[in-house]
Symmetry: C2
Subunit: 312 residues, 2 copies
């Protein structure tokens, strides 16, 4: 199966601690890396977990709070200093972050051998922001104190699979196979039309990963995220701290669990941990009462997307 993983580089929140770095993750798919958020120190975490920038062409920033973006200039600066890169680097950032980002790039990395392409995200509805032959990314607005976006990473729907026995049975030539995989019927040498449904089986199901941080619960996305294989969700606060979660536009672990259950997510990964709690066991315990398929994020954790057993 094609690789499709997520690795946590940082799952803390605004204040880095000795246990958790500020937010950043790497989604890997078919040898390409996609970074989500880039808090201070992300370049060190990226190196520590043996990633290489030659595979990284796309960085997504959820919002302009420092813990989610203050590592971006350092990362770009180091890549520029290395002098090995000539491919374009694509940054997908909320509109309110664009001006200061450009000011920082102009000041700290005025000369690079590669182009930095800033894609501004400014939408009220889920919007496709990246799409290639194999992969696509949709941004969707979250509910935070500043413009903030979640990201849905999905494989593109693949071709149908041709039944090997039909190739022999109908003597299908090699140059017809691509067309049939794409849904075409086949006409035999004696003029008989064999419908595609008989020749093929459906495409493999696409695998999907959803990232939602920082936000209040967004039940209106239950349809968009229905049956997502893995979800990372803001779990800044414990039960009992709902007022803080509401005040600062974050979620409790239990709220995250209820939302993931409504989405029928295959697995929920709790993150964006507040520095106020010494450890996160309580978050896991509280969330697990609502939804059994839950893990705590941790620096260095890599999860394969779409291979988790589903209870529902």
């Amino acid at each position: 199966m094609v690789d499709f993983n997520v690795t946590i580089l940082g799952c803390g929140s605004a204040k880095p601690t000795l246990r958790h770095h500020t937010p950043s993750q790497i989604v890997s798919h078919m040898g390409k890396l996609y970074m989500i958020d880039c808090g201070e120190g992300t370049q060190m975490q990226f190196n520590k977990f043996k990633f290489h920038e030659s595979q990284l062409d796309n960085i997504f920033i959820s919002h302009s709070h420092g813990d989610h973006c203050l590592g971006l200039i350092g990362l770009l600066s180091t890549i520029s200093l290395d002098g090995h890169r000539f491919n374009e680097m694509n940054l997908y950032v909320p509109a309110d972050f664009e001006k200061i980002l450009k000011q920082q790039i102009d000041f700290f990395i005025p000369y690079t051998d590669f182009n930095i392409h800033i894609h501004t995200i400014d939408c009220q509805q889920p919007t496709l922001v990246l799409s290639d032959d194999h992969f696509k990314v949709t941004a969707f607005p979250l509910d935070h104190r500043v413009p903030c976006y979640g990201f849905l990473f999905e494989e593109q729907s693949g071709n149908r699979h041709i039944r090997q026995e039909c190739i022999k049975q109908y003597n299908i030539p090699f140059n017809e196979i691509k067309r049939i995989k794409e849904g075409g019927d086949f006409t035999t040498s004696d003029g008989r039309v064999i419908p595609n449904e008989e020749l093929t089986t459906p495409p493999s199901p696409v695998r999907r990963y959803a990232y939602l941080s920082d936000t209040q619960p967004m039940m209106q996305y239950a349809d968009l995220l229905r049956d997502v294989d893995l979800m990372y969700h803001d779990a800044t606060y414990c039960e009992g701290d709902e007022e803080l979660a509401y005040k600062y536009y974050h979620s409790t672990a239990s709220e995250a669990a209820e939302f993931a259950k409504a989405c029928r997510a295959g697995k929920l990964l709790l993150g964006h941990f507040s520095s106020r709690y010494g450890q996160e066991d309580r978050l896991l315990e509280q969330a697990s009462r609502h939804n059994p398929n839950i893990m705590l994020a941790n620096e260095g954790l890599t999860l394969n997307i779409g291979t988790q057993p589903r209870d529902h």
Copy 2:
């Protein structure tokens, strides 16, 4: 003896590695902390080595290259979020860094409970930039690709010490002692003037720490830095890489050693290590041929200033 230490938070150079963080140091004197440079991740190092921001009122930035200043906004942002600080924070920065620094502060930390006072450094000659009852800091221009300053941290010259036996011999009243310590003579009840030199011994020698990074060797400062107790100096390159050192306005370890010897520095601490060398043993070996009082900097190293034995 009053505490006067330096602790290395990071002694790497532009590219952080798994071994070395980007530059930052803490000078501590009489319970106050003075930060020099603030590369990405400095706030994590500051926490790791158990420093507390309540003691930190002064941060000195040598120059505007990212490895020396990209951690500043994150540090200030975390201090602001903590909400415990009301004292002014003083930032001493080269003039060319002021505009982008203000832009970043305005964007990332628009509301703080404390005042951020930016002191611009823009001088061609050594210039006193901080002075209080006990301590002073002089900035002096270095030779780098952008405006860059070294810093000399010095204790203020203390009072002379009164000879205890004279107090008894001349029946010196308590309220005269401060004046005598400050250099005054004493007139006895029978009108005899006792000169200060007889009543006192000289003040304790002031201890001094010099920070020079990033720079080519600056032999013109041999007088300014004469007999400095401890010197931290740019040692980015090995022997054989002099051309690179010259091209990028850095120093080799051997050049640093020769300069420290010319200054008669009590001890030299080599730092700002290039990521191109796997380890720094070679730098130490090369530098030690010129000057025996040399150490390699390392994260977490704390040196007491002024207690090193001197060979010269």
